[in-house]
Symmetry: D2
Subunit: 343 residues, 4 copies
Amino acid sequence: MTELRVIAYRPDRSEYAWTFGGAAPVTKIRPGDVLELWTDDCFTSLVRSVEDLASEKIVFPFLNPQTGPFYVEGAEPGDTLAIHFISIEPSRDWGVSTTFPLFGALTSTTRTVTLQDPLPEIVWVYEVDRERRTVRYEARRGDHIVELPLEPMHGTVGVAPPNLEVRSPLVPDSHGGNLDTPEMRVGTTCYLGVNVEGALFSIGDGHYRQGEGETCGVAVEGAMDTVLVIDLIKGRPTPWPRLEDDTYLMSAGSARPLEDAFRIAHGDLVSWLVEEFGMDKLDAYQLITQISETPIANVCDPNYTVVAKVPKRYLPGDRVYDNVRAGLREIAAAYRRERGLPV
Amino acid sequence: MTELRVIAYRPDRSEYAWTFGGAAPVTKIRPGDVLELWTDDCFTSLVRSVEDLASEKIVFPFLNPQTGPFYVEGAEPGDTLAIHFISIEPSRDWGVSTTFPLFGALTSTTRTVTLQDPLPEIVWVYEVDRERRTVRYEARRGDHIVELPLEPMHGTVGVAPPNLEVRSPLVPDSHGGNLDTPEMRVGTTCYLGVNVEGALFSIGDGHYRQGEGETCGVAVEGAMDTVLVIDLIKGRPTPWPRLEDDTYLMSAGSARPLEDAFRIAHGDLVSWLVEEFGMDKLDAYQLITQISETPIANVCDPNYTVVAKVPKRYLPGDRVYDNVRAGLREIAAAYRRERGLPV
Amino acid sequence: MTELRVIAYRPDRSEYAWTFGGAAPVTKIRPGDVLELWTDDCFTSLVRSVEDLASEKIVFPFLNPQTGPFYVEGAEPGDTLAIHFISIEPSRDWGVSTTFPLFGALTSTTRTVTLQDPLPEIVWVYEVDRERRTVRYEARRGDHIVELPLEPMHGTVGVAPPNLEVRSPLVPDSHGGNLDTPEMRVGTTCYLGVNVEGALFSIGDGHYRQGEGETCGVAVEGAMDTVLVIDLIKGRPTPWPRLEDDTYLMSAGSARPLEDAFRIAHGDLVSWLVEEFGMDKLDAYQLITQISETPIANVCDPNYTVVAKVPKRYLPGDRVYDNVRAGLREIAAAYRRERGLPV
Amino acid sequence: MTELRVIAYRPDRSEYAWTFGGAAPVTKIRPGDVLELWTDDCFTSLVRSVEDLASEKIVFPFLNPQTGPFYVEGAEPGDTLAIHFISIEPSRDWGVSTTFPLFGALTSTTRTVTLQDPLPEIVWVYEVDRERRTVRYEARRGDHIVELPLEPMHGTVGVAPPNLEVRSPLVPDSHGGNLDTPEMRVGTTCYLGVNVEGALFSIGDGHYRQGEGETCGVAVEGAMDTVLVIDLIKGRPTPWPRLEDDTYLMSAGSARPLEDAFRIAHGDLVSWLVEEFGMDKLDAYQLITQISETPIANVCDPNYTVVAKVPKRYLPGDRVYDNVRAGLREIAAAYRRERGLPV
């Protein structure tokens, strides 16, 4: 029998973390602990109607608040943290999106500088229907209305970065952070390399749904009730964020230009197959060439993110990291049973 | 009743086209014609075993031969060509892949120049099992063997380019060409803007399957028996290759760096929704942000390709280009009935 | 004694070449021939005042006309063409520049797509003072007026490209073309690899001056009277455009993203030092690291161009390509003496 | 009369700063203070001979130590720090360079991932001749020896970054940092926007010389004796590092891909001319297009850096930031007179 150790934490506004690294831990946890968390939306709940412009409501850098960090006992540089998502549910019946001046893929930015005027700042509010599992898109300058599937996920999941750095929660990199991939959903296990003692895991930026690439830079943003379980893999480093679900092994590369994100993700998949299954490097390269699926995660953040996925059924084996995921799924199942949720 | 006009064409080696643009048409066709074509593999059948190194067998630039070009009667600059795929079937029971010196995503190249030695050149031969619809991967330096689904497609589909240019069949750009997207499969309709009189459509580079990104630069390459039907949309330009299947509208952007391919594809989707459904530009941008799927097509060719896809069920309508696709599907169904194929 | 063979050629408008490759030669020339040429400006003289908008005057693709191509007798693939500039002089007393919609470094473009409105199209006309060797900048929306040094050069110098391709004169690549580097000036020798029989050399796009990067996409454009002498280096290939003047060896890389242009140019310099002086590859890499100067040429064309320069005085020798430049300088001196120009 | 306030500071090894931001100030200084500093080389003096491999000697992240940070009294976010270089002199008679695995422009890296083997790690030691003002290059695998001009500069100059971040000293960005531009030399004034109270200025990474681009990733590295004077410009923000010398105004953009660094630098020059001289944005764009010089600074660091320069003599005026530089040059002259240095 798995005995559940459950820690519930809902931060006050004054307790939000505004960085990965550099923030004091809110509490210590142990491997195997289940965390019941609440995360605010990326706008700290200040954009609630089409009248609320983020550029007016937000005082920089107080954007994309994180819940955490959590100090994981025993975690040291060279270890890997495994985070398994048990439940990710909207904590509100509305979400919000917006264009934001000089942010997004189809606008000039503070880096891709042009002399053109910024795009107008427009807000879209989405009604959430939890019964029907939908969010409702409503055009601002036309009459198109459509219900889209509710597909909750976290844009931002990470640990303290390496090299003594402290990074904004807007940044995705090797420490995770603002990856903005729809793969960070219920049932996924995320593996992150530990860079500092205690790992200092934080999470935020709930998305009720997003397309691949998060094109305008802003998903259907919303506060989230999230349950996850954490484990620690001692003595095994993980260079870039890796994900696993029932079907796929995945690696998330973050860099600019976007082809480097692609190269990181696929190069890391090659390394992973070599590590786990003893494949030859070029044999792994060939196999991945024919089987990978490669959704773009974001083309708006300070680094762009590409996720490379390979179906486990085509690999020499389907167990990685000594099958730590099996134990995490067991805990998840136990938790869901206990809470009366469908397993 | 649709009366079928069927043209069968299998080029001699001397009849291969080595460019888009600049090659004399092999024949004239009319809108509505069904073409039964054979395309050679990208190595002109010279790489048949693990002993056959492409770098030794191929004399540049005689790589990636195209079947065509076909002169489409009535096609003029400013029109759009619609190509609908009725059948794409391996014409052999083997396919082949290889690393190729200074080509591929995880190696330095003639553009991403480094001083390192090139990767070794290794060939993988895939057995095709048409009954089971599989291709068989077999490691060269290990013992992993696995059957992968046969998913035939064409890497290269295009017309003569604009601006008086003649391009290598290795290049993807606004004229189509070497897009290397798995979306170019049976049931897909491809829309290409016409740049010269007669359009000069060609096709080649059959892939028995490939992953997204074609990471090592070479899919499971193979000769193909392909049936398609062509139509012409007069007076309607198409700036970048667009694709449609039962579920999705898609646009394929090709450029370097990869984020520009992303921008082109999503920008073109915005334009398409504005054109077809009168949506406001920013409303379309928002909707696409939440619903697009964005597989990478290639990160190896002279331009990299991103495909942006939106499910038609979330759009204000599901008919584009005046529903030309309906007529093409009818012809496809008639052809398949006549040939005794499942419709 | 050098006997001068001089060929003068001024194309009619109907004789302009609109591509590199694919155009019939206007005449044959022999190695050692001096060419006295006239080149029209990139707008074919249609933008002459601040009222003349290029977007209205120009019918695509009739932009950037080239004078040529010239068939060089004896030139074959694998050879190198050497072009030495004897004189480049404005043929008019005015030049012109402009912003151009969706073209230039500080605007979104047809590839770096954004949803913003294009920048306004504004024309600047520059008076040329040949006595004082200046062009006069005059603000359009302010009162700043300043004389800038006249520094004439050619933006576009090239041969037919490889791989059976035909390229727009807006494109810089391994065949030369629209490099847009101020290094293409009097006294410079340009080395270009020959890709087709006769090489098919063309030239155009005179600039009365430009900054490094040609930021807005348009230099001080003007028609030019240019004298050059051509030579042929048999059996010696040149992979990317190389330049030489009294002080520097240079290589011009063209690609996107810009770092690939940098990599090409510096990688080619490494190769050049290895070829000419037998240096070890890594020793050359180190030396270049400490001595190269690296002006950006253009960040506006279909490929971006970086020029990497190394002072000859720091190299193991100062003669390259068997000192072909010495002979070209002799012919240039003889020509200038004969014409009464300062030598 | 300028009264000189001089502060001398030479850090112990235990006092090095390993980040921009996040490090406690070593002392407080006032605007107008002259600092006499010693900076260690980027390898903390551990690479001293061709036997000393950096990959073996260095324990990450203890690379590129900084002298500082200095808390500037009165400095607040929204102000600008002006740093004027009075003297930069080698403190040793040797410098060192090396290839470093997966670092540099002509190798794959941890971001531009390939499956190739890394380049060999080779060290070059340079003798410094202070009399003749040279450093001596000596090939490791050949016999080429050449003296190159001693041109001392600082690769790394910066303040604490914005957004609560702490960055590695290997990173160049809007806060300065590892710009690696040869323009950071004696006589140059560097303007940096202040992001935190006290600004927290640090400096390091002396280069006895480097080429533009720092191609292999490592200049002629050396410890340095440096004298500089600091001033504060209240209430005037500076978005990106700007430099000024007797001839030029310059802006340094840092980003990937390299074209974004170009865009940032030129876009910031446009803004600067608009701010200082009231020029129209497009008039400034045009002028810069024709007069800018654009050396690449680095193509090896986490962000690449481009410097855009415009000669002051072509601008509407030659005084910027209310001519703060005049006062700094006066202090520099007074200091040099007092020390018996040539003024």
